[in-house]
Symmetry: C2
Subunit: 219 residues, 2 copies
């Protein structure tokens, strides 16, 4: 029985790897970063870890995030080692044993030293944030006030020390369990946008602009 | 003009607080933890921060998470200071200026020392995980193998040092900007489950059980 058993285990390992894999290719990493603006920035204060949710956006080989220059998270991350993680839940994976229950998900971890975006580059970066997260909106808005930009810090991290993890597909059970009459499968999770809700303070006659009608979020 | 200006600013501050508030009450914190099993665990190795996505579940006054006893995240978190964050994106908030664009979201940060669940308590905790994340499934599944439980570490954190942040509602713009003919509003984000996808390896005639048909995920 050793030989078939060994073969089965190899098959199982291959199957498991096919569904749950670490990935380091930029296309996979970029796609996950672009799919979910909410990220979690990890930083250290007095030897203790902090994880603060914020928005990230990607421009080429860097991600960026911003905040009030006075905020603890920004002050502790600036010039310091950080870990920025993006994670997306795609489904609940129900196996034939509790042990092999899982979730389908996509995640990216980025590591490195958070660099401060220089004052002279801030307006362009903040404009880039707007166009990345709210494409097409810039020209329709009241231009930024200089003092608002002044009080904002923008940080960046290169996408160099990075890894992605992706799990897709059905559960992977122990070989012996596939003969059991137990339902197994996946309950997919979908994230989508709903129709826009206008601010009750909008002036009469202001119509929903094209960039709002066409807004696409592919979480 | 000073007086009206001051009044307006007070109104604005009140409005902003109503939409974006820090919360420390347990009901708010518990509701967010219960709404989103994906969390991010922050821990420190050699002075550097790491943020690892994993699943958390709550039982009363503690959250729990688990992993392979061999994993780096588990080994570095065990008995150490951690920060566990749950964050949920609820909408894109489009204001009259780029500066006041935001997202509606709910998040919780928990701080403390991750405690190791003792070996004798692990089976009950892992059973609790299954019943919390996949209610009603336990009795339908192949019971756990002792060696699977043995290789798993369960960690816990009390919900004591905790804070929540919730933003809801329309954008909050500068007072002067409400006279501008610019569309403002919210594009809500909804997370929902889709109909279950059976594992192609399910035995013929195995029907979708009640706990799968009734599965509810309220992210």
């Amino acid at each position: 029985m050793t030989q078939p058993d060994t073969l089965a285990k190899t098959d199982r390992t291959r199957l498991r790897r096919a569904h749950e894999r670490g990935a380091f290719d930029r296309a996979t990493i970029d796609a996950i970063l672009d799919a979910q603006p909410m990220c979690n920035v990890g930083y250290v204060i007095d030897g203790k870890p902090y994880v603060t949710p914020t928005l990230q956006w990607r421009e080429g080989d860097h991600i960026y995030w911003h905040g009030s220059s006075a905020s603890r998270a920004i002050r502790a991350s600036k010039g310091a080692e950080v870990c920025v993680t993006v994670s997306i839940l795609d489904g609940f994976v129900m196996a034939r044993s509790g042990f092999h229950h899982s979730v389908n998900s996509r995640s990216v971890m980025l590591f490195g030293r958070a660099a401060l975006v220089r004052d002279e580059d801030k307006p362009a970066k903040l404009a880039g944030m707007l166009e990345t997260l709210f494409p097409g909106s810039t020209d329709t808005l009241r231009p930024d006030h200089a003092q608002d930009i002044k009080g904002t810090t923008v940080l960046s991290l290169p996408i160099t020390e990075a890894s992605a993890k992706v799990r897709t597909g059905p559960p992977v059970d122990d070989d012996a369990d596939y003969t059991l009459p137990i339902w197994a499968g996946v309950i997919p999770v979908e994230t989508r946008t709903l129709p826009p809700i206008p601010d009750p303070c909008n002036l009469p006659g202001v119509e929903v602009p094209a960039h709002v009608r066409n807004f696409r979020y592919l979480g």
